[in-house]
């Protein structure tokens, strides 16, 4: 802090601000080679990050629009999840011979998180084709549409978290010390959600069969993944457990669900989750670099 000449700092700030308002000329030309493509793709994502107030407002309006004129508004999200968890929880606890106090918290987290994954994939696959009007009317980063889907579903997730909190309070489930790992796990989920949206949106724009294929795969994945049932039920059934351990959705669910349900940190789940995430990120980067400039022609 320079107290002797306090005005100098201020003048510097205002000069920098005026310098940023006159942007350098934009040159749009076909990319030559991978390095060029990578630079343009990175610039697209950087522009999306810069436009986060727009993404926030778009997502906020999306949710408000969905529930405009309804009495409960977005709390319908909370209510319908709560009813679902309660109804399925008591029935399946009986069906699987499980203790309700242990099963209900497990089911609440699993369903809420699966709901997030499921809408991310289905809305991700159609987000570019649905934003056709915006894409064709002005130049904007293409990754913005994927970011909008993620932001919107994080807001939905926020409403559903209330159900988890209430269920945990009722059954007095307390997360243990390994809950610190929720922070990196949440970050990994954010990055993966964005990547999956971007990847599916590109394929969904180019091949119109992708959205129905994605929804049928997700339906199968719902039954194959321990969401309604816990993997401990498979403990003594031989090699079927391998099927669960290799499931990418299971490892991703487990790194968030485990610590919340008072279980120790699982290095195996983390390793699988990180490996799948790395593959996903590479695939997405490859697809986005190749396809970015063609997106307006496809939608």
């Amino acid at each position: 802090m320079n107290l002797i000449v306090p005005d100098q700092g201020k003048a510097e700030v205002s000069r920098q601000h005026s310098a940023t308002t006159s942007r350098p000329p934009i040159v749009i030309a076909p990319s030559r080679g991978w390095r060029d493509g990578l630079t343009l793709a990175a610039a697209d994502i950087a522009e999306t990050v810069r436009l986060w107030p727009l993404i926030w407002t778009l997502s906020f309006f999306d949710i408000r629009l969905r529930y405009r004129g309804s009495l409960l508004g977005p709390f319908w999200l909370t209510l319908s999840t709560a009813i679902m968890v309660a109804a399925i929880g008591f029935l399946y606890a009986k069906l699987f011979h499980q203790d309700v106090a242990a099963y209900l918290p497990f089911l609440a987290i699993s369903l809420v998180l699966w709901n997030f994954i499921n809408t991310i994939t289905s809305e991700g696959a159609t987000c570019l084709t649905q934003s056709e009007g915006m894409i064709r009317s002005m130049r904007m980063p293409h990754s913005l549409h994927a970011a909008r889907v993620v932001m919107r579903n994080v807001l939905v997730l926020g409403h559903n978290l209330i159900v988890i909190v209430v269920v945990f309070a009722i059954f007095r489930t307390t997360p243990n010390i390994s809950a610190f790992s929720l922070i990196p796990a949440g970050l990994l989920w954010g990055v993966d959600a964005f990547a999956v949206c971007l990847l599916l949106s590109i394929f969904g724009a180019r091949f119109r069969d992708i959205p129905p294929i994605v929804s049928s795969i997700m339906q199968i994945a719902f039954y194959m993944t321990p969401i309604m049932w816990s993997p401990t039920m498979l403990m003594h059934r031989g090699y079927t457990i391998a099927l669960v351990k290799l499931n990418p959705f299971f490892s991703l669910l487990e790194i968030l669900r485990g610590p919340l349900l008072n279980m120790p940190l699982e290095p195996e789940a983390w390793a699988t989750a990180l490996a799948y995430s790395a593959v996903l990120l590479l695939l997405t980067a490859f697809a986005f670099i190749r396809a970015r400039s063609r997106i307006p022609y496809w939608v």
Binding site: V27, I28, A29, P30, L51, L54, L58, G133, P296
Partner: protein, 260 residues
């Protein structure tokens, strides 16, 4: 100083829904000469071929040409929406394109909400958004309507909102397609006044229209597009006298002179 340069711009659209070329398509392609194949042997429509021109501050360019000559595609390419497959576009200055009345607006949101989204896209701070909303309301004469969803507007009101919004955010380069003609007479006067102040402030206007009168009144340079290529480039009199049949040219010139 605003600047817009197109250098050997080529744009082609892939046709994914007809992978194999039927006899009918081959005949059609031979007749129009605009279907081709790219390096992966995919069928493409060549919308723009080798288009070059450069615009500087104060230029008011008009595009003329028959339907499908590539005028709208060229405007979209100039706006940076379609990236050319060959050649380059250089944009120096804040650019706004009024390509269709909807302009990417969400018709379920209210006018004010759409204005907010556009302001955020253009990087306006929160404090400026209310001022922008007031400016648009005043110019488009939509006061109470701005609190209603855009889908309740008449098509003329949508046009007014789109035009007011596009010009309120003070672009240095404005690209307009011909739909602006949907406005009523009194609005046209206002629109022209607003554009003139904008262009006088040393900016660039690019207009695509089928109306020779509009082109003559608003432009000081005209490019004639034909089958995706530049057929002629010059002053409105030069290009329009070649483009239009003589009696239509005389009629348009007389009408433009009366209006000025």
């Amino acid at each position: 100083m605003a600047k817009l340069i197109a250098q050997n711009v080529t744009v082609s659209f892939p046709l994914y829904h007809g992978e194999s070329r039927s006899l009918k398509k081959t005949v059609f392609a031979a007749a129009s000469g605009r279907l081709g194949q790219d390096k992966n042997h995919r069928l493409v429509v060549e919308a723009l071929r080798d288009v070059s021109f450069s615009l500087k501050t104060g230029d008011r360019l008009g595009f003329v040409g028959s339907n499908g000559a590539g005028k709208t595609t060229l405007l979209r390419t100039m706006a940076g929406i379609y990236e050319p497959v060959a050649g380059s576009i250089t944009i120096d200055g804040a650019i706004t394109a009024l390509l269709d009345p909807g302009q990417g607006m969400n018709f379920d949101l209210t006018g004010n909400e759409n204005i907010r989204l556009r302001a955020l896209f253009s990087g306006y701070p929160e404090s400026e958004i209310a001022r922008l909303q007031a400016d648009v309301a005043e110019f488009a004469e939509l006061d109470q309507f701005l609190d209603l969803p855009v889908r309740t507007y008449s098509s003329g009101m949508v046009v007014r909102l789109g035009f007011a919004l596009a010009t309120a955010i003070k672009p240095q380069i404005l690209l307009m397609d011909e739909w602006i003609l949907a406005g009523d007479a009194s609005f046209m006067d206002k629109a022209r006044h607003r554009l003139e102040t904008m262009v006088r402030g040393a900016e660039i206007l690019v207009l695509s229209s089928h109306s020779a009168e509009i082109i003559m009144q608003w432009c000081n340079r005209v490019i004639w597009m034909d089958r995706g290529q530049v057929r002629a480039d010059g002053t409105p009199e030069e290009v329009l006298s070649a483009y239009l049949p003589p009696e239509q040219f005389a009629h348009a010139k007389a009408a433009a002179d009366v209006a000025v």
